[in-house]
Subunit: 98 residues, 2 copies
């Protein structure tokens, strides 16, 4: 069993993680990336949103380690960081589809 304080910290971190999933722009970005890697312009077009808004949200996703980025010439190409992202989204879907 963990110490009470550690548990509290862990729960706060958990909430912070889920908070990242809890925004429709960010979820749409993640879903877009589930189809394959994309640069910022492509994501901006796919979501039909402001480029700056997308960049701001990508930053949050990157800080949460849900996506990774690599430069390719002038563009930055984003991808999902790992399989957990897909699993977490799949779990959420299951709950909704009841």
């Amino acid at each position: 069993m963990k110490k009470k304080e550690n548990m509290e910290t862990e729960l706060i971190e958990l909430a912070e993680l889920f908070k990242v999933f809890g925004d429709s722009t960010r979820i749409r970005i993640l879903y877009d990336l589930m189809q394959g890697e994309r640069n910022v312009t492509e994501i901006t077009e796919d979501l039909a949103m402001n480029q700056s808004a997308i960049s701001h949200q990508l930053k949050i996703l990157k800080m949460a380690k849900l996506v990774t980025a690599q430069r390719e010439g002038k563009s930055m190409v984003y991808s999902l960081a790992d399989e957990h992202v897909k699993t977490i989204i799949a779990m959420g879907k299951e709950h909704i589809e009841e």
Copy 2:
């Protein structure tokens, strides 16, 4: 494959679900209920918070169908609605513990 609009709606619902998990008070309530059912007073004591704050958050959890409530005399006893809650939290933990 789903229609584009249905997908959008589903993603928005997903975001709304995760938003519910994305608050430390609510996550702490869920974790508390993972140990067993509790009435409002007990939750209030376990989290050492204001009773009204707890009630407000319980309402949000109930609307999201993450918890259920039943009256027992003067108290309302809350429980986790289903196993998905535990699974989703477990998935989140996995991502964090890397």
